[in-house]
């Protein structure tokens, strides 16, 4: 989004492709940002407005590129759309949702709760348009959903489409997905209910999340007051993600703040290898560290088992105390790392070993921005998006390469 608005506000035409049902990406699913603890919705609203007010940006959701060919200044991008089963006639009145009887997993809340099979992706969704879940297509329920719409917006016959776009430059801003915590076998994610991931923690703490913002144990809905945050869950690990995901330390500091803001008698333990509160973010680390109810344990947790009452028990070595521990908690949050979105039609020569898109050394006009280019935080992502926008419009202008 940032690259698109920056290029468009400089006077260039932009096609913004989004594979999902709404713009906003992972940021829309965050509760707050570090270090200000402000809500991402604020910047999202500004950017949505910038897009709404700018006719130079054409937004295509549920659309992904499948092939890119051509060269600098003249690329052909073949894209594929997936059906939403709701067309532009939708007013977001919500009558379809009332007609839906099936509940489907709520992807916005990482499946921690459900939504009706006709749903608005989230309250701030852009476009503000409902989606009919493919799960009910072909059932009588779908017909009921269709007939509930007064505006003829439900189109059950929508089919995937393929078409070509012709552009001067391409920016990959395809972001990331959280590392699959089930691959961290010894942490029991998926088996121990009270072991969750950091992205789930964001939803748990968000007012629009499954618990309306209260940090509760998934197993029984009890208040989670003893919380362990496990760093490098997958990151900095040659068996998983070899790189450091950069944001997890700071996100966990923020999660400590979430818990501490809710419960006066809470205790948060952060298990870490190195706390990477780089640059001015150091002050955020200092502030969280000053709280006597936030403890830092330099230890990569070895394994988690389920103890009495569904309490996850952490096992490992406290390296600074040289002590083997078994400690139980109400809730354990795995700070899983960022994995670049895969399956992009990008030449191997343009990606690094991890799948980040790092074009270099050629004279094409294919660029990357944000986490597609490496593990970056929000601010750095926008910075890289702004830079990518300039490189892209240089190509559109027909300027020099370099």
């Amino acid at each position: 989004m940032s690259a698109a608005v920056e290029a468009a506000e400089t006077g260039y035409d932009v096609v913004l492709l989004e594979a999902g049902v709404s713009l906003g990406g992972r940021v829309a699913q965050l509760n707050r940002y570090f270090p200000k603890l402000c809500h991402p919705a604020c910047g999202l609203e500004i950017n949505y407005q910038r897009i709404r007010n700018n006719p130079k940006i054409k937004v295509l959701t549920q659309t992904r590129p499948v092939e890119v060919s051509g060269s600098r200044g003249a690329y052909k991008v073949t894209v594929e759309t997936t059906p939403r089963y709701v067309n532009a006639r939708c007013t977001a009145c919500g009558d379809c949702a009332k007609a839906a009887t099936t509940q489907v997993k709520n992807a916005f809340n990482y499946g921690m709760d459900t939504v009706p099979a006709a749903y608005l992706p989230h309250p701030m969704a852009f476009p503000m348009r409902y989606v009919v879940s493919p799960e009910v297509i072909g059932t009588p329920e779908a017909e009921a959903i269709k007939s509930a719409c007064k505006y003829g917006a439900v189109d059950l016959d929508e089919k995937p489409q393929t078409f070509d776009l012709h552009v001067a430059a391409v920016i990959w801003a395809t972001g990331w997905s959280p590392y699959n915590a089930e691959k961290l076998e010894s942490y029991g994610y998926g088996q121990i209910a009270n072991v969750i991931t950091n992205v789930e923690m964001e939803r748990l703490a968000a007012d629009t999340g499954p618990t309306q913002g209260r940090i509760l144990r998934p197993s029984d809905g009890q208040e989670a007051k003893r919380v362990a945050l496990i760093q490098c869950a997958g990151s900095r690990d040659l068996n998983h993600l070899p790189y450091c995901s950069r944001i997890c330390c700071l996100a966990s500091l923020k999660h400590a703040a979430y818990v501490r803001e809710q419960y006066a008698d809470s205790q948060v333990d952060i298990y870490y290898i190195d706390i990477r509160a780089h640059d001015k973010l150091e002050s955020f680390y200092k502030k969280v560290k000053a709280d006597p109810q936030v403890r830092f344990v330099k230890s990569k947790v070895a394994s988690i088992t389920e103890g009495d009452g569904g309490k996850p028990v952490l096992h490992g070595e406290d390296t600074l105390a040289r002590e083997i521990y078994d400690r139980d908690y109400d809730l354990v949050v795995l700070a899983v790392g960022m994995e670049p979105t895969g399956g992009l039609p990008v030449a191997n020569s343009m990606t690094d070993d991890y799948g980040f898109v790092v074009p270099h050394g050629d004279d094409g006009a294919i660029y990357s921005a944000g986490v597609a280019s490496g593990p970056l935080d929000v601010s750095m992502s926008v910075q890289s998006a702004t830079a990518a926008a300039l490189k892209a419009i240089q190509a559109a202008r027909g300027g020099a390469t370099a």
């Binding site: 490098c232 230890s299 990569k300 070895a302 096992h315 490992g316 070595e317 083997i324």
Partner: protein, 203 residues
């Protein structure tokens, strides 16, 4: 060529020992990659019974603490469950390193009266006599290596087990099974030891 183990350093963080370990120990080449996360020590089933644990052992290697490393209990208490090896985020062959350090400790005379060593010696007796490990003989030699009286005490403690094993048909009372060409095997092993010693000496 392999170099002999360096003399104990006069000061901490002398890199002589660390470099020797990196070059001469199975899996040693990756020890320098250890980031001291504690995954290994935390994963160890009997980690709470080790004086240093693998993680600290690696730091001690880098600090040049040869004496402390080779005389620690850590290298003798590895159960070889390989949890540390498969979980190490830096893919250090922790199990292999500990095993190799133990053999270095023996070779360098740092390991008096260690149960593992005794067990290992008993094991070798059996292998060199019969080509196979005979559990009865290994156990007996092992227990008696503690001295006659202590041997009896230990053996008696396990007597109920032995008698039940015999009953279960899993411990014979006859002569041990033998590898027919046990002589060949002894020769091979002797030759291998010779090569090993040559390596250790040659520089």
């Amino acid at each position: 060529m392999t170099k002999p183990l360096p003399q104990t350093a006069a000061r901490k963080y002398d890199l002589g020992f660390a470099q020797w370990v990196y070059d001469n120990i199975e899996g040693g080449d990756r020890i320098s990659l250890c980031m001291q996360c504690g995954m290994c020590s935390g994963s160890c089933p009997i980690g709470d019974q080790m004086d240093n644990g693998p993680r600290k052992t690696f730091m001690m290697i880098r600090a040049g603490m040869k004496e402390e490393v080779l005389s620690s209990s850590t290298i003798w208490n590895c159960t070889q469950c390989y949890n540390c090896t498969v979980r190490c985020p830096r893919q250090i062959k922790v199990t292999a390193v500990l095993q190799s350090l133990a053999s270095v400790a023996v070779a360098e005379g740092y390991a008096p009266q260690k149960p593992t060593l005794k067990f290992s010696k008993a094991f070798w007796r059996s292998v060199s006599w019969f080509g196979k490990t005979d559990e009865r003989i290994v156990t007996a030699i092992y227990y008696f290596s503690y001295g006659l009286m202590e041997g009896f005490r230990l053996a008696m403690a396990n007597l109920p087990i032995a008698s039940r094993m015999v009953k279960a048909g899993r411990m014979g009372l006859l002569l041990p099974h033998r590898t027919k060409a046990a002589g060949d095997l002894r020769a091979i092993v002797a030759e291998a030891e010779k090569i090993q010693n040559r390596k250790r000496a040659g520089s």
